[in-house]
């Protein structure tokens, strides 16, 4: 039996929401002091009215219990606001839990950003030492790995250049290279590491795989389900601060995507709140999707409904708010909740030029003749600048639609068996005909 590397007991974290500014003025405190004293010592009766009346506790994490064995690579998935970052911050000891406790065996290295502690004025070499020390490496360790780090980041020629002159790619590579050479027993990694060009991303994933084969315990948060599937054996699924599932990754991903289906209490004007699916750290601010929905292609009057019937053509609609005039490109994918991709469509593939004006506008895309098998589908939606490829908005794992089997005449509804797992379902004609064995044999001989 393996050892437990991370154990979490009843971990909770509460934030006070809406009580006061995150910080205030000392002078205001002094100004309030007489009144507070008055309330406290003289007007004791109405003390309840002045204090705590506006407090609005928000449980970012509630009663988390789990344990992770040594050498396991565990993914943490969940929607925005599910508590993933809070969990990582508590386990990294950046912030303290409100209640509960956690145990860690061995050194913890946490990578919550690329280039932790980099100073723009310092050279690459100086930053390797600074950032490495901050991440918990000793001077000797840094010295020992220095050449490997430089090599991994491919910055040999720029070692004596201040990092403020680095390209963003070099910056990210150097940041990750330092992180990748940390050798703690427990590694906590946030998804922001998954940036950079595709080739470097692959290199990072390979490096992380290598780390996990060395018997280290890795906790990995990502929205890239493909990366989760590739790297992790099991996953924790968080939802609104609670642990909903812990288990094998494929199952966890399915669980997570099923969970992404909107419940009636988080609909905004009848649509899922996009902020729950938005990836802010990837986005600019000029162009934002405001709502995304599905309606029937031939009958838009019927209104928006995420449920369509099998074989029905549907219209994808996205309302966009833009503060600039620009030519953009937009695309969306459709994937089954188990993660298998059905299709991806982009405006430029259809040679459609998407001109955005200032203000609000609706982009429509009719999806015709796509025989999606009954079931639930999620979508990733991206809007970016056509020229420089700057990303404006990214919505991931958005619960786009559910395909229902058409009710047959007698009113009963049949779903095809899910275990078959196809993404397309095409009506086919079956038939059976009895043939005389001898006749057909003779025919073949001829």
């Amino acid at each position: 039996m393996s050892n437990v590397a991370i154990s979490v007991d009843g971990l909770s974290k509460c934030y006070q929401r809406g009580t006061s500014e995150p910080y205030s003025r000392f002078s205001e405190l002094l100004a309030r002091l007489p009144k507070a004293l008055w309330n406290r010592f003289i007007a004791r009766g109405d003390s309840s009215a002045s204090s705590q009346s506006t407090s609005n506790p928000f449980w970012a994490l509630k009663d988390l219990d789990f344990s992770i064995n040594e050498g396991e690579v565990v993914g943490v998935i969940g929607r925005n606001g599910a508590g993933k970052s809070t969990l990582l911050k508590i386990l990294s000891r950046i912030t303290e839990p409100t209640a509960g406790r956690f145990g860690l065996r061995g050194r913890v290295g946490s990578l919550l950003e690329v280039g932790t502690g980099f100073h723009p004025e310092l050279t690459g070499a100086e930053n390797i030492y600074l950032s490495g020390t901050l991440l918990g490496m000793s001077r000797q360790e840094i010295k020992r790995h220095f050449d490997e780090i430089v090599d991994f980041a491919q910055i040999e020629d720029f070692l004596q250049t201040p990092v403020k002159r680095y390209s963003s790619g070099m910056y990210v590579r150097l940041g990750f290279a330092i992180a990748a050479h940390l050798q703690p027993e427990i590694l906590i990694v946030d998804e922001v590491l998954a940036v950079g060009d595709a080739q470097f991303q692959k290199k990072c994933l390979d490096k992380m795989k290598e780390v996990s084969t060395q018997g280290r315990t890795v906790l990995f948060v990502s929205h890239q389900l493909s990366a989760i599937r590739q790297l992790t054996d099991s996953c924790l699924v968080l939802d609104r601060g609670r642990l909903r599932f812990q288990g094998e990754s494929d199952q966890a991903i399915r669980h997570y995507l099923e969970m992404a289906q909107p419940s009636s209490d988080d609909l905004v004007d009848g649509f899922p709140d996009l902020n729950a699916f938005r990836r802010d750290h990837l986005c600019g601010t000029h162009v934002r999707a405001e709502r995304i929905g599905i309606c029937r292609a031939d009958d838009a009057e019927a209104g928006f409904s995420p449920v369509i019937e099998f074989g029905e053509d549907f219209r994808f609609e996205c309302e966009i708010e833009s503060s600039i005039e620009t030519e953009a490109r937009m695309g969306f994918s459709i994937a089954r909740v188990d993660g298998s991709q059905v299709t991806v469509v982009w405006t430029q593939d259809a040679e459609f030029s998407l001109r955005l004006r200032k203000g609000r506008q609706v982009v429509r895309c009719d999806v015709l003749g796509l025989p999606l098998a009954p079931g639930k589908y999620v979508s990733q939606i991206g809007i970016s600048d056509i020229a420089v490829g700057r990303t404006y908005d990214v919505i991931m794992d958005y619960p786009l639609l559910e395909v229902r089997w058409q009710a047959v005449e007698d009113g009963t509804v049949h779903y095809p068996d899910r275990r078959w797992g196809g993404v397309h379902w095409t009506p086919v004609q079956w038939s059976v005909e009895s043939t005389a064995a001898g006749v057909s044999k003779e025919q073949r001989i001829q």
Binding site: N3, V4, S7, Y15, P22, Y23, S24, R25, F26, S27, L29, E70, K89, S92, R93, I94, T95, E96, P97, T98, A99, G100, R101, F102, G103, L104, R105, G106, V108, S110, L112, E113, T116, G117, H119, E121, L122, E126, Y129, L130, T133, L134, L135, G136, S138, R139, E185
Partner: protein, 295 residues
């Protein structure tokens, strides 16, 4: 000065330890100062040094005269006060050495406090990006800000050394105690820095108060004058509540052989310093636990 590990219970030991060489450490919300906190601070001492080196490099990398700044400022101020007191016709110092030397003996340690206190006060807020991304004992920040001032102090001491050679001032034997008084001044700076950096994280206007405190402190400490030349005897014990009094008197005693600080004033200074330091540690620890959520 960190989340302290709770006691490892026997049950945990029985289950976890035999099969592994590293024991499990448990963390939970827990206030107070613990030995573990000091140990961790010791583990992270390299980080203090790295941050000091970073600050010094960054400070002087894009400057015209570079490290000369550290000398220029005290030199100019020295001239100004020298002229001022010459015009006044009375110098508030013992006459055996030129006033400029006496002035520097007071001003350099004061400058050490003043520059480090400003940096220490801002240290938590200035690094909020860092403290929300990676764990280290937060006290590293005000401490490294304080130690960083020592570099400038050492450079500025060259000026003092030069003047002493020029005027032929030979230090008495107690010069060997000088590092002790410099250390004392650093401790004052760290104690006040712990308080102010934690307060500044919660109340941003503390940053505006510090220059004012320093300005007042400049005149209620024997920086431009010497205690026994100006402060009437009956007020000296109140005066000594300011821990810098003991430091500055001590420095002049070490370098110039001027009147030694009295025992009573040293004791008073020490007690104030102790309260400042211990109170600072407790308060800082209190704020450290919630600073990431509130900054």
């Amino acid at each position: 000065m960190s989340t302290s590990a709770s006691q490892i219970s026997e049950r945990d030991l029985a289950v976890d330890v035999p099969s592994s060489d590293v024991p499990m450490q448990y963390f939970e919300s827990e206030g107070g100062i613990s030995l573990r906190g000091f140990y961790e601070l010791w583990v992270y001492r390299h980080l203090v040094w790295m941050l000091v080196v970073r600050d010094v490099k960054v400070r002087y990398r894009q400057t015209a005269v570079g490290v000369a700044w550290a000398v220029l400022q005290p030199a100019l101020l020295m001239l100004v006060f020298n002229i001022f007191f010459q015009l006044l016709g009375r110098q508030p110092s013992e006459g055996n050495v030129p006033y400029v030397v006496t002035f520097l003996c007071g001003y350099l340690p004061w400058q050490l406090l003043a520059s480090t206190l400003g940096a220490a006060t801002q240290s938590l807020v200035a690094h909020q990006n860092l403290i929300s991304k990676v764990y280290f004992p937060r006290a590293v920040l005000p401490i490294s800000a304080t130690v960083g001032g020592l570099i400038d102090f050492c450079i500025a001491c060259v000026l003092l050394l030069g003047l002493m050679v020029w005027y032929g001032v030979v230090p008495p034997v107690q010069i060997i105690l000088l590092p002790l008084f410099v250390l004392l001044s650093l401790l004052i700076s760290i104690g006040a820095g712990l308080w102010l950096s934690a307060l500044n994280a919660l109340y941003r206007d503390i940053g505006y108060v510090v220059p004012f405190i320093l300005q007042v402190g400049f005149f209620i400490s024997p920086v431009i004058y010497e205690t026994d030349q100006l402060i009437p005897g009956q007020y000296r014990s109140i005066y000594a509540l300011n821990p810098m009094v003991g430091v500055l008197e001590g420095v002049r005693w070490c370098i110039l052989g001027h009147a030694a600080p009295t025992l009573s004033s040293m004791v008073i200074s020490f007690v104030t310093l102790g309260l400042l330091l211990v109170g600072g540690m407790i308060y800082f620890r209190q704020i450290e636990r919630q600073v990431v959520d509130r900054i």
